[in-house]
Subunit: 479 residues, 2 copies
Amino acid sequence: MSYLPIKQLLQSTETGHEVTVKGWVRTKRESKNAIFIALNDGSTIHNIQAVAEPGQFSEDLIKLVTTGACIAITGQLVESLGSGQSVEVKATNIHLYGPADPEKYPLQPKRHSLEFLREIAHLRPRTNTFSAILRIRHALAFAVNKYFNDNGFFYLHTPIITASDAEGAGEMFRVTTLDLDNLPHTEEGKIDFSEDFFGREANLTVSGQLEGELGALALGKIYTFGPTFRAENSNTTRHLAEFWMIEPEMAFYELEDNMNLAEDFVKYVIRYALDNCTDDLAFLENRLKEEEKTRKKEEQSDMSLLEKLRFVVDNDFQRLTYTEAIDILMNSKPAKKGQFQFEVKWGIDLQSEHERYLVEKHFKKPVILTNYPREIKAFYMKQDADGKTVRAMDVLFPGIGEIIGGSQREDDLDKLMTRIHEVGIEPEGLWWYLETRKFGSAPHAGFGLGFERLVLFVTGMGNIRDVIPFPRTPKSADF
Amino acid sequence: MSYLPIKQLLQSTETGHEVTVKGWVRTKRESKNAIFIALNDGSTIHNIQAVAEPGQFSEDLIKLVTTGACIAITGQLVESLGSGQSVEVKATNIHLYGPADPEKYPLQPKRHSLEFLREIAHLRPRTNTFSAILRIRHALAFAVNKYFNDNGFFYLHTPIITASDAEGAGEMFRVTTLDLDNLPHTEEGKIDFSEDFFGREANLTVSGQLEGELGALALGKIYTFGPTFRAENSNTTRHLAEFWMIEPEMAFYELEDNMNLAEDFVKYVIRYALDNCTDDLAFLENRLKEEEKTRKKEEQSDMSLLEKLRFVVDNDFQRLTYTEAIDILMNSKPAKKGQFQFEVKWGIDLQSEHERYLVEKHFKKPVILTNYPREIKAFYMKQDADGKTVRAMDVLFPGIGEIIGGSQREDDLDKLMTRIHEVGIEPEGLWWYLETRKFGSAPHAGFGLGFERLVLFVTGMGNIRDVIPFPRTPKSADF
């Protein structure tokens, strides 16, 4: 019994032939003369409608055709008389694969809260909202790989387990096979990690950048796209303990090239979603419109989801230095009126309220901030000649804040060593990284983009836990 | 100073204009009238040759142009008089980015052992062999994503950290943020994992399959492509503690569909490499020929690397049941002569020697074995009507052994529960998995392919540590 995905069937221009559709019942509606079954197989947001004559099927079977049940329907593909679809199936055979007891199946056709759906993350991909998000997530991931492949980058799988804890980017998860009930100890009474699987302490990676640099300084242009971990106890709508990160790294790129790449890349993947996820984006746009109606007027967005996406794709990002941004902020209304919670002065790490002011109020478009004070940035960023700033860049998006963080890297061994000592990192653990500056050092640059923040922006969702299939957060590792 | 990758420059059909090339010096050769510099930037296995007149550059500069140094050369692109390249650069300017002291740089132009190169995994991508492997690895990864995208599959990011230890596929790495020097204990004296980051014990995933099934039973066809972990203390040429796995999972697929997909998929990605990695494969084919010369006659392959790849792409895989395979093995010469180390009888888990006999001696082509005894396979495989076997399939490749393992999944809740109790798994931890059989259960199937085994096969390398950038193995987590 061969069959076509519903997505393809709905695009049929010919009718009259027999088809088989397989999927999960979304709704069933019975009238005197006909039973209407809306079937979805996940290939598209749209259901196919099957029409069955009541007398033709056993009542016992039809009783089991309930929301969530899995069935196959065979019948003639005909033009649909109803609105909303061009074709439907005139059922001649219904096969029940698996029922879904209406008393127990949690996904009945009514509105469910996102909180409730998070508790049933194993079933939520069967809803319109989450299937749309996951299809868009797929399209964005494919666009990422396609962009880099088409532009001569090589996908480099940097390690997930790492003994290097040099970057200091945040708290890490320990990886161990030691028996916690019976930890081995050295003569000095310390835990003996030489007996652990890797013969030393090991953690989950917080970034593939340092290894990515090794790749770029051999292959020219590489990117990573893999899971990354932060053991921060942050219960927010913006943080996950496990998330996917994209990190391109390019030899012979300087700060300007890095900015050009970041802007071109992020526009490409958003445009790809606009071109390839039309139906799913239309659904999420409406979803967001409905949701916004429940918000206070001043919290409503003045652009719809699609308008926001097109706006990013069609406009140049505003580029300015950190120093220029501080000037704008210090002269801003909120600063003068004392409306910022955090004081603005040169040297501060910009807070969300400052970034939002720049992006959403002042420039009203994505912003690339560059040349940050070196004290607030990582040791590996290339130092500017002024001795005060580094060639960092952050891309700030409306509603999201920092979506990309990157920099030109310090390629001068002496300057890098000075900085490593200043920030108190043990250079021994980084011998391999430092050797790339000893042997054939080259100017190079790169950035990191948190994939879930991108999906958040493109889908218009409000909580990062709703754009990854199985979120990992403090006290939560279900499924 | 804009520049083109060497790969593009070497394809130039026009000459006479000024170009800039940037890269790492592979070799420098000086004659009385000319200095020949071979430069590589990682975009291709081929170097570009630059020719410099000795008198035009300072001796101090030329002295620093040594193997491994990073330089930019500007000059006229001219037709090459030498053999082996069509164009070369007549240098007018040489800029040194970073030198590489010949006394200290370990990658001098001579043969290095693979063992030595493993110790300098941060530099080995600068060699011909490893840059070729990594470019092919990239091409294969892209082909994986392209195949599934083009065929209506959605890329699903299944979790890396998981509290589910139900599959029992092997030893796992623990993930924890507990302070090992100060472990919290419950009143009963056990370690109190409620204080751990996730509020319970957590591990690194051994497979995304169970979560993949959740996706397939909502979206229809999904695939995973991500890192997977085994804390096995195996120091072999075939095992890694961290490796990348590809796991498609399809609703409404039965065993036959699963086999068709596996064969079509693996042929597609190998064909993609043949079409897109011509130069790198030619290099590795020669490398393998040279290596084989050092082997005993009977250990030499009768096919070259490219012949082996074309053979897989051009021939149907041999399909037979486990029971048929046991018959063949029991009637084989090695069995009759007592040459198998492990006895052959129905019910055994096939050993490498048996698989190799079937693939390399008997059928001389890839083999798909199906319908294994249920006792030697996982609990989730669909049981055959005979009560003895399950709808499993293993794809066996020459030289590699099992490259794909999969099955139709048990979609009958009662049969699944019986099996779960038989093998002694706690069903409580799997409540979410079991609910997919309670609500809208559907026939479905899937498989797993170890990405590094595929790369191993396509590159002709002998050790799995040489086909992943930074291998993780017992006592080794460098870089």
